[in-house]
């Protein structure tokens, strides 16, 4: 019997730790008929290092946010670009399929075996003040995280304040920043409802955040072909979908939590002036991404088209089945 050590971060109550890892762990144990057991371990490492932690076999598997390592996962930003208009479940499925079909060849996950790809729910505005038009954001101090956010912030005319994610509560509480762009889940997870009760949600989402789950190739070698294949059979698309759906559910719970605790959640419609303005302002971000990944020897335009079609098709299917 082999123990598969999964190093994880985020609070134990977070869906990633209360749902995603335990569910996958059960799948792995069933698929390998108990020969591999999964041990979930809270890590106090900087989450940005977890890619290396697994590559160097310090832990066997883990997950992280691609944007934590600027420069390494440029292609993976594909799913973060504004305008996808899908929830995390649809985005995650489309992202996984796009990765397998187009992105994998560029080998950005060098040294790792990817077992799942997913996104958090659409990014929303958490602010200390009500946002009635995009002009209200001009000149406001907004905490900017990594990835595509910097470009969006620039186009919105905000004063960007860069700070690690775990400082966001403090920044908002003291008033050093007036707002932050993060998914809805942080109203509850980081208790942003206490310090930034105004939430503005665009129908297309502001942007997405891409995460990856990965396992050490050395670990896969060490357990033999049969068990490695068994683990793969319960990972990939199946794991990505499950993770995306779990993160969506966390967003829904967080919205309810926020509203129960004095949060003002403003869901905008497609026709709303702010939604239209946002589309105008973010127009052309695709092109900057396409330019940035030119050297990667991947047909980025085709990948982007494929991703969006996949996401739309799955979204339509979700609507048909009444899931959303």
């Amino acid at each position: 019997q082999t123990v598969l050590n999964v190093s994880t971060w985020l609070p134990p109550t977070h869906v990633q730790n209360s749902v995603v890892w335990p569910t996958w762990g059960k799948w792995v144990e069933e698929a390998t008929e108990g020969r591999v057991t999964v041990n979930i371990e809270n890590s106090s490492n900087n989450p940005a290092q977890l890619f290396e932690v697994v590559e160097d076999s310090v832990a066997d598997a883990s997950f992280s946010f691609n944007g934590f390592v600027p420069g390494r996962f440029e292609l993976e930003q594909i799913v973060e670009l504004p305008g996808l208009g899908a929830n995390a479940e649809a985005a995650s499925l489309a992202y996984w399929r796009t990765y397998k079909k187009y992105l994998q060849a560029a080998n950005e996950f060098d040294g790792l075996e990817v077992i799942g790809l997913f996104t958090h729910g659409p990014g929303v505005m958490h602010t200390r003040f009500p946002v009635n038009s995009l002009d209200d954001l001009k000149g406001k101090k907004i905490r900017i995280g990594g990835g595509v956010q910097a470009e969006i912030g620039k186009r919105l005319g905000v004063i960007p304040v860069a700070a690690p994610g775990n400082k966001v509560y403090e920044l908002l509480q003291t008033g050093v920043v007036d707002g932050a762009f993060m998914p809805m889940v942080e109203q509850q997870g980081m208790r942003l409802v206490e310090v930034a009760p105004y939430v503005t949600v665009l129908p297309t989402g502001m942007y997405m955040g891409a995460f990856s789950m990965f396992i050490s190739p050395d670990f896969m070698d060490s357990i033999g072909k049969k068990d490695a294949e068994a683990i793969r059979s319960v990972s990939g698309e199946r794991l990505s979908l499950m993770a995306g759906a779990a993160w969506d559910k966390a967003d829904i719970d967080a919205k309810k939590f926020s509203e129960e605790n004095g949060g003002q959640v403003n869901l905008l419609s497609y026709g709303n002036q702010m939604s239209l303005d946002y589309l105008k302002i973010t127009d052309g971000i695709d092109q900057s991404w396409l330019d940035a990944v030119k050297g990667k020897k991947v047909d980025a335009q085709a990948a982007l088209d494929f991703l969006r079609i996949e996401a739309q098709m799955y979204t339509a299917k979700q609507k048909d089945t009444g899931a959303n």
Partner: protein, 175 residues
């Protein structure tokens, strides 16, 4: 006062080590000074001029690593690492000297071996073009700086210890 006499008055090290100690401390002092200015400029710019310094956070992180590791050789060869000295009152100075040798070997060898690994980690980052978020500074370079200074600390601490044992058999270590 001339620079040389200032150096002699302020550094207990001997010979070229004086210069080396001054050199390392100069890098650390200048960087720490810059860190202080950086924060002030960033805050003043953000609050009063609505224009923060882009990349202040990542420059702070880099500066911090430079401050800490630049003085590491000096701190280590002077034996300034913190010890729990509960036994000092009960044992003879000779034993303390032996124990200091043990410590020196432990410190030097751990830094020596780890420095190669840190160097490799840095090279890997450089190969993958990992940069900072806003200023696009190669992160691997900072990691390799840490590696080089760890290596220098390991080697110099052991040499310095041996030197002080063999050249000053009856002084140096005593308080």
């Amino acid at each position: 006062m001339s620079f040389i006499s200032w150096l002699n008055a302020n550094y207990e090290e001997r010979g070229p080590m004086k210069w080396l100690a001054f050199f390392f401390e100069l890098i650390a002092a200048a960087t720490l000074f810059a860190l202080m200015i950086l924060t002030c400029v960033d805050v003043v710019g953000r609050y009063f001029l609505n224009h923060p310094l882009i990349g202040a956070t990542e420059l702070t992180e880099i500066g911090l690593a430079i401050v800490i590791f630049s003085v590491m050789p000096v701190v280590t060869w002077r034996g300034s690492h913190i010890v729990v000295d509960l036994i000092d009152a009960f044992i003879k100075n000779t034993y303390l000297r032996v124990l200091a040798l043990v410590s020196s070997v432990v410190i030097s060898s751990s830094l020596y071996f780890i420095s190669f690994r840190i160097w490799d980690v840095g090279s890997r980052m450089l190969r993958r073009n990992i940069t900072t978020e806003f200023l696009h500074i190669e992160t691997g370079l900072i990691v390799q700086y840490i590696a080089v200074l760890s290596f220098v600390t390991g080697i110099s601490a052991l040499l310095y210890f041996l030197l002080s044992v063999f050249t000053q058999p009856n002084s140096g270590e005593e308080k």
